[in-house]
Every structure is written in C-alpha cells, then in structure tokens.
C-alpha cells in the first residue's frame, strides 16, 4: 500500500511538472514592453514553485515508501518531538526565499502602476457596458469631448453620452475596437457605465478592472503589430462570456494618417484595417 501510494504521488508529480515543462499549453507570445520582464519573473517563480512542489512530493513519497509498519512486535517508530534547529533552519530559508520572491515580484508592477503615463502617450477613453466595449478617441485635436451620463442613449448609439454641443467633440469617434500605435505608450482611461468589467488582453499581460463611478488611468506599450482578442475578466452578468472585443496595434505609417481622419472615415478605415490584420491567437 505504501509503495503504491508513493509511486502514485511520484507519477502525479512527474505528470504535473511535465504539463508545465512541455509548454504545450502556455502563454501566448507577449506583445508588450513589460511582458518579457513579467514572463521572466514568472519563470523564476515557477522554478521556485516547481522545485518546492517536486521536493515536497518526492519527500512525502519517500517517507511513505520507506517507513511502513512492519507488523513485527516491538518494532517502534522514532521517538522524537522535533528539532528546534531544523524548525529555525527551514523557517529562515523559506522566509528568505519567499520574501525575496515577493520583492522581486513588485518590479513590473511598480514600473507600470506607480507613476502616470509618460508624456507623449496616446490616450483612449474606454467605457465598458454590459456586454460591449466602447473606445472613445479624441481625434485630431487630442482633446476628448465632454461626456455626461444623462446624455447616454444606447438607442441612438450615443453609448458614452457624448455632448454634441462641445466643440471638442466634433472630431471624436467611438468604436467597439481598440486601435493603438505600436511602440508608443498608451494611456487608457477606464470607466464603466453599469457594473464592474475587466480589460484583459492575454498577450499584453495586462488586466485592469473598470469600476463604475471611477476613472482609472493605466498605461502600457504594445510592441508588436497585429490584431488581438480582448475579453472581459470580471463577471458582469448574463452575457459576460460574449463580451469580446479587439485590440489592433498599428505601425506608425498606418496609425498616424488614421488618427488624422475625420470621424466617419476613421471608422471606415478601422473597419478595413481590422479586416486586413488576422487575429493573432498565440
């Protein structure tokens, strides 16, 4: 029984490790500036995790394999209540390893979240709603038109409540897809009309909740041209699973002329660009 259990524990351990090592199911290739650093931190962490997991399971299996009850009369286990030296040793080692890991794990976070978007970032307003994304572009003047919840009218396709009387609004566009330039910091101003949603693009290694009543500013830099899937990662109601959007990362030579286009042509042009770039899924 003990040997069988040990073998099962070892096989499960080996298969579990294999599932990660084979990388058959793995992250999609990263497309953001912070992605490689995040992936590196993940690899360091998974190494610590894998070694600890393996060592603990192998150790557990070994004890189970070795120390069976022999059934012989008078054959007794080791009478010990422990060892303070060992307790101190493993407490210190794990504390050092885990806390170093925790501190290392803050670098990407700190670089992304502890300061505002760098100057010259391209800003897009994101207004999520049950079950659709609205991306608000400032247009040529780089100034967002005024919005007001009182002006929202889904029926008239004014999804984010743009105020038509605001002169800054004239060149603004609202689209269901996110179009951003490559290799340039992008600032998203995240809002929600109704419930909490979450902006999630797996290859971007980036996620942020959109909370009604708040405007949350986050920033990142995409480094690879292409079209990517965008999902909602916070339960937002019945059709949460269908809240799919697209993020289109464009080279400068396509993005700059696009940005200057007036509203209607901007929309048309984005449509044709979305058709041009295939969706990259891994």
């Amino acid at each position: 029984m003990g040997r069988a259990l040990a073998v099962i524990i070892w096989i499960i351990t080996a298969l579990s490790v294999l599932m990660f090592v084979s990388k058959k199911w793995w992250f999609p290739a990263t497309i953001s500036e912070h992605g490689p650093a995040l992936d590196r931190q993940f690899m360091i962490t998974i190494l610590v995790v894998g070694v600890s997991f393996g060592a603990a399971q192998i150790g557990l299996g070994w004890m189970v394999w070795k120390y069976r009850d022999t059934g012989k009369a008078g054959d007794r286990g080791l009478y010990t209540h422990g060892s303070n030296r060992l307790e101190v040793l493993w407490t210190v080692i794990t504390a050092v390893v885990f806390i170093s890991l925790a501190i290392m794990g803050q670098t990407v976070w700190a670089s992304l979240r502890l300061h505002d978007a760098p100057p010259g970032s391209y800003s897009v307003e994101v207004v999520a709603q049950q079950f659709q994304w609205n991306f608000h572009y400032a247009g040529k003047d780089n100034v967002f038109g005024r919005t007001d919840p009182k002006l929202i009218d889904d029926g008239a396709l004014n999804f984010i409540g743009l105020d038509e009387s605001d002169p800054n609004e004239k060149d603004d566009a609202v689209l269901a897809s996110l179009v951003i330039p490559v290799n340039r910091p992008v600032e998203l101003r995240l809002r929600s009309k109704d419930v909490i949603h979450s902006f999630w693009v797996p290859p971007l290694r980036f996620k942020q909740d959109l909370v009604p009543g708040m405007e949350i500013k986050v920033h990142f830099t995409a480094t690879k041209v292409g079209q990517y899937e965008l999902a909602c990662a916070e339960l937002c109601g019945q059709n949460h699973f269908k809240m799919r959007g697209f993020m289109l990362v464009l080279p400068d030579n396509e993005f700059e002329p696009l940005k200057a286009l007036p509203q209607a042509q901007f929309q048309e042009q984005v449509k044709s660009l979305l058709a041009k770039y295939p969706i990259i899924i891994d």
């Binding site: 080791l78 009478y79 010990t80 060892s83 060992l86």
Partner: protein, 224 residues
C-alpha cells in the same frame, strides 16, 4: 536531516496520579479538580469569557460599519450632513444614567440585597426603554424634515448605525427583563452564584452598549 540525533535521553518522571497532586501546569477553569460544568466559579468564568468574546465580535461589526462610514464620507461629493436631532442628547443622558443604575443594582446583588437589585434593575429597564423611545423620536424628527434612510449617505448611516445599536440594546433589555423576572420568581430569597454571574455578564454588556452609543454619537456628529 542526517545530522539529527535520534536517540533520546529518557528523563523519566513518575506520574503518581494521586488526586491531590496537580499533574499539569494548568488545571484550568476552577482551582478544584478540573472544571465542573455546574461549579459556580466555573460558570461565572464561562459567562464572563463568553461575554467578552461576544463583545469582540460586536466590536468587529461596528468597526466594519464605521470604516465603511469613513470611506464613504471621505470620497463622496454627495454627502449632506444632517442636523443632529436635539433629542439625542436626552437619549445620551438616559443611557449614561442607566449604566449607573445597573451598576448600583449589580452591587446590591453583591451585598445580597435582592430587593435593591430588583428595584434598580427595573429602573434600568425603564431607562433603557426610554432610550429606545427617544431614539425613535429622533427618527421621527428626521423623517418630518424629509430625511429618510435613502436620502443621502449621512442619513443612511445615521439610520443604520442607530438601528444596529438599538437592536443590540434591545437584546440587552431582554436580558435585563429575564434577570428581573428570575429575581422575582426566585423561591428562596437569596442570591445564587448563577444569578450573580448572569448579572455580571449582562452588566458588562450594558456598559459596552453605553460606550458604543457614545462612540457612534461622536462618529456621526463629529466626523461628517
């Protein structure tokens, strides 16, 4: 692990197991042989510990509600401070006095004066009822001004916190009634240890409700 010494120096100690000898560092509960469910001292300890533990949990409830209050007051543009209904000063006076009367009642019990105990208990109950009535008047006054539960965050918290406190105080009132009825029904006109323990526990609770009210009162009308 190889460095570990596996042999054990057996420091033998004969446990004789005589009743008089205390086998462990802690006999716990009573100083007699272990605890005894019906032992008066054990019971008093139990009531006291239980009461403090319950108060810890009530403290957490009001801590949670107060932190919600502070967060909500800090970030809100829709905060409208409500005017303090004057009758709350009367409520405060009533509950402060009730703590004193209950303390007198408890001490009468300690001095084995069952009559004094009952009388002061009755007075405390009336003061407690008065407090609840006075809180109700405060609600009515606010409602007459058109300030309701959902009017604005300050009024929401006012109704919520006063109601939560009133529910807890009403529980205390029920306990007082229970003590009073039992003191009336007691066939032998003498103080039982059990009655004393219960009175002590209820007194702790009542004083706590008093302090809690003062805290809520200050929170609601100083932090706004």
């Amino acid at each position: 692990m190889a460095t570990m010494v596996t042999s054990t120096k057996t420091v033998t100690k004969k446990s004789t197991g005589e009743g008089s000898k205390f086998p462990g560092p802690n006999g716990n509960g009573s100083k007699r042989n272990g605890h005894d469910f019906f032992d008066p001292e054990s019971r008093a300890n139990r009531y006291r510990i239980g009461m403090w533990v319950a108060l810890a949990s009530i403290t957490m409830l009001f801590t949670a509600l107060s932190s919600a209050y502070i967060v909500r007051a800090g970030g809100a543009s829709d905060w409208v401070s409500i005017a303090m209904p004057r009758v709350l000063l009367f409520s405060t006076a009533l509950i402060l006095i009730s703590s004193v009367t209950l303390e007198v009642s408890r001490r009468s019990l300690k001095d084995s004066s069952l009559d004094g105990y009952g009388r002061w208990l009755l007075l405390t109950m009336l003061l407690g009822l008065g407090f609840l009535a006075s809180q109700l008047v405060a609600w009515r006054q606010l409602a007459r001004q058109g300030v309701y539960l959902s009017s604005n965050p300050h009024s929401s918290f006012f109704y919520l916190l006063t109601a939560a406190h009133a529910v807890h105080l009403a529980g205390g009132l029920l306990a007082l009634i229970f003590l009073w009825v039992r003191s009336r029904l007691a066939t032998e006109r003498k103080v039982t240890a059990r009655g004393q323990a219960a009175a002590d526990a209820v007194t702790i609770y009542w004083h706590f409700m008093d302090a809690l009210w003062i805290y809520l009162f200050l929170l609601l009308f100083l932090w706004r």
